[in-house]
Symmetry: C2
């Protein structure tokens, strides 16, 4: 139930994008978005004098770590679908930075000894291993607060800014991201004893909150920050739900088969610790079929955006590429 | 450097307010504000279905704990000084709830084993002792996110809401609350070796960020959410800086002299662990004189608000009462 495996080119060492028929790489992939996102994240790591140097270094270590930038890219793709700007100083980019801050904070806190107790994150020491535990707690807290500060100070339209804060804070709150992580930890410790709870419904509820909510919020933020209509927001949210779930299923499938070397984390760890997984509940082939159905459904939904939705269709397809 | 000692009536067992000459208790104290604040906090503890019951219970344990409600009261007092409404459904009350969520989260995380490692908070088990460590981390995270969700959904004027998010998120961020806590922990571990760092300047810098920033933000939120002018905001911020520092000095003085029984925490603990304190640096009498000067300065500043500032003048005086 970890989403640390990248479907995208990592930064700063981008891997080649897969070939997708009929749509050029420039239009469909996200390679051209990544330098802008990195630049915006770098700019967001300049703190006022009151920020201790070591705390600033810890935040940079977490936020600027090589990553797939899935969520910020989704913000920009949502804005693009609604016809809005995605430049470095756009409101959508402010949303992209904010959502990556929330994502980075959640990884830092999830890795803590009292939580998932992970030593490695994408092959690098986790923040509390590289620095120390109190620094990791505080750096996470700082990024969580900073996300909202960034939105409030970088989005010029007040109504858009408030709605963006609303969308992002709900996705990060007790009924979504935090609630999902809470139940995920509970399922891990109780997984072997409570077979009733280890149901597909419970698994999907955890994913929807822990991973899906922030992915949905990302694409919705793009729509909100580019003046998208209620109809556009609803379509994009449906798309995100399908792709987010497909992404998680593929992640579970990879976790069953991939090696430590290629993923930078302990293979099969989630399963061995009693975590709920799709292949564990459905079997390998049915899990893959479910992912394929979700991706087709997602592609169909965003066909209404025509060429402005080409990146979104590419992304849905790319999620599946990882299983091959 | 803990602000757990209450200068106010605790809820639900209010102690009698001290007598203050020339101003009636109703006008000057905050007793009449407290039931409204408690009611608003209670209402803010209703979560969407995705919130796990145990997480909701932990948030309630922290947020609804008997407390002085200094910060929410300051929000309402700031609004009152600027002539704005302070009722249960007012924008100022939304700010009051949000700031108490930030305060409660910061106490929960500060108490964690990797931080101050406290077992008791106002005589009750700390959250990680009453529940467990992962629940405490997640409940803190949830309250931090929820504070901004509450502002975004309960303040009807978008421009006011954005400025409130701006003020609160900066106060809670890496250069203020989190940075202050970071340096406070660092000073604690290095206190005995680094006499140069244990200077008055460093001590005030820590207080200004760890405690003062949120107190200033509280009163500023009240002004922002009631349409206060830039001049009014500046006066109130100056007032808050003086009172916040006086409050901290008095807290240090009490920590030197009070007993475990009366305060619900280990007496002299901060000093014994190498924490920087005002009486430790200045001596008892000069520390008390400094607090008195600050309070006089604060009272003078808010005289411009006439009767709308009577609670603020009362509060400044009450901070000193605690030393007698």
């Amino acid at each position: 139930m970890d989403v640390s495996v990248s479907p995208f080119a990592s930064v700063p060492n981008p891997a080649p994008m897969p070939e997708v028929a009929c749509v050029s790489e420039t239009e469909s992939g996200i390679n051209d978005l990544l330098p802008r996102i990195e630049s915006a994240l770098e700019s967001a790591c300049r703190f006022d004098p009151g920020c201790p140097d070591r705390l600033a270094a810890a935040i940079r270590y977490a936020l600027l770590a090589p990553g797939k930038r899935l969520r910020p890219a989704l913000v920009l793709m949502g804005a693009e679908a609604c016809g809005g700007p995605t430049g470095l100083s756009s409101s959508a980019m402010a949303g992209a930075v904010a959502v990556e801050m929330i994502h980075a904070y959640s990884l830092v806190h999830d890795d803590l000894p009292a939580m998932d107790d992970d030593d490695l994150r994408r092959g690098r020491p986790t923040l509390h291993r590289q620095f120390d535990e109190s620094t990791a707690i505080l750096a996470g807290d700082a990024m969580l607060a900073q996300a909202f500060s960034h939105l409030a100070s970088h989005v010029s339209d007040p109504a858009m800014a408030v709605e963006a804060v609303n969308v992002l804070s709900r996705a990060a709150g007790p009924s979504q991201l935090v609630g999902g992580q809470f139940d995920d930890l509970a399922a891990e410790s109780d997984g072997h004893e409570r077979s009733d709870v280890a149901s597909l419904e419970h698994l999907e509820s955890i994913h929807r909150r822990k991973t899906g909510a922030l992915i949905s919020a990302s694409i919705d933020l793009g729509a909100v920050l580019s003046g998208g209509t209620a109809d556009q927001r609803a379509i994009l949210t449906d798309y995100a739900r399908d792709v987010g779930l497909a992404f998680q299923i593929v992640d579970d499938l990879l976790d069953f088969t991939a090696s430590f070397e290629s993923l930078g984390k302990r293979s099969g760890k989630d399963a061995s610790r009693g975590k709920l997984t799709y292949p564990g509940l459905l079997g390998l082939d049915p899990a893959r079929e479910k992912a394929e159905q979700l991706v087709e459904s997602a592609k169909e939904k965003v066909s209404v955006f025509d060429s402005a939705g080409s990146r979104l269709r590419w992304l849905a397809g790319y999620v599946l590429e990882r299983t091959h």
